[in-house]
Symmetry: none
DNA sequence: GTGGTCTAGACCACG
DNA sequence: GTGGTCTAGACCACT
């Protein structure tokens, strides 16, 4: 299975799942045209409700990552996404408070860069083992 | 005033305020020994509930950023914070989903580094833009 | 072939097919007395389930567009249809939400009329583009 | 109340509600800055589930019609919407099958224009009586 | 079998 | 009090 859910996390399940699937697509674990498990299947595999899975699938569809083929389930789209300025502003807003806290904990520039490098590269390893 | 609240943001007010104050401390806008406004004062200045301000002050005290001096208000502490492994893990968990979405929007490594550089440096310029 | 099916469309296949055939009849691509392909034939041509084709044929028969001749297949009827008030109400109900959304996107009266003109005329050009 | 739900309609409740609210905004029954009823309130007023209302509010937020002020409910946005080509294509696709059926029922060009005129003008009267 | 919709009840974060 | 999230069970349209 290409995703695990941490029930104890403060991050909502549906966000964890969304991130996991996007990560799997990015890493190649899920390729264009691949079929996603049905909402019922994935829900039961992960031990979560099918409505939660359904919500995620719909968000992914709205954001263009997947689409639905009538009664045949959800399929991975090509990813021709581009990043506009609004997106950039959004990312900055989300990153800023975290980085502020990192500086507050005396993380220096070198350590900061190391961490970023680590995560940047780890992202591609999230989708393996599909 | 060293902080502005964005009512429309999805980020809770108390978190925005907390980040702003930490940022002000980091940037030198608030130095060790400086007195913070009273919860009543700051609440009315920002147009937010004084309970929200109070909550933030208590969090900041718990995290060691400020101190309460016998009914005289809150004062800024020295900042000898260090970062343990648990903190690091925490930061990584928070950063990962954002960076995954950035990669999904075709942000390359160079652009990523630029953005990080930008934010890193902005943090030192006080609580503005937050 | 006078019809193409868009698998990704949110419009059910059977509706797409129904509309296509009606459109073909209207445009003269299918004339009175013409024989429709067998459900098996059309289903395989379009890559859809023969039950879906069958369903459409039955709907078209119920609505008077075609007839079944004793195990020899389906034939196009004359089209003496008239529009009663119930039909009119029905059309209005279907059109209203779409037009509301068009107005919400700042489409003006002139542009609206242009679009309607375009579609009105396109309808006569057969089932293409559907 | 600015909206009524037809339980018997084949159109999903959430779509009816969405259209009603957009219509009310267009007609001026709901102006920029106006507060929408809480999901609980509107749900109980309309005799529908609060989750259904919630779904609609979230769609409207995604489409930019409203936004949420934390714990104070939903407010109507300014409507600077513009219509891109994708939207236009979408409208055409939705309108086409309906217009085909209208032609199939022998509705002539004059009657067609009358109907469109009627609906176009009716749209603005949907939101009164708020 | 697929997803779509609706209902319902519960708990939570926030202010 | 507000919306956010999760669970659960039901019925439906479609193929």
């Amino acid at each position: 299975m290409f995703v695990e859910i941490d029930e104890k996390s403060e991050i909502p399940i549906y966000r964890q799942l969304k991130t996991s699937i996007i990560s799997a697509i990015l890493s190649g674990g899920l390729k264009e045209g691949d079929r996603l498990p049905s909402v019922r299947q994935l829900g039961s595999d992960l031990g979560i409700n099918l409505h939660t899975v359904n919500k995620v699938y719909n968000i992914l569809k709205d954001e263009g990552y997947i689409n639905f083929l009538r009664n045949q389930g959800a399929y991975v789209n090509a990813i021709p996404k581009t990043c506009n300025n609004e997106d950039l502003m959004d990312f900055e807003k989300k990153l800023q408070p975290i980085i502020i806290e990192m500086r507050a904990k005396n993380i220096g520039r070198e350590q900061f860069d190391e961490i970023m490098d680590l995560i940047w590269n780890h992202v591609l390893e999230g989708g393996k083992g599909l």
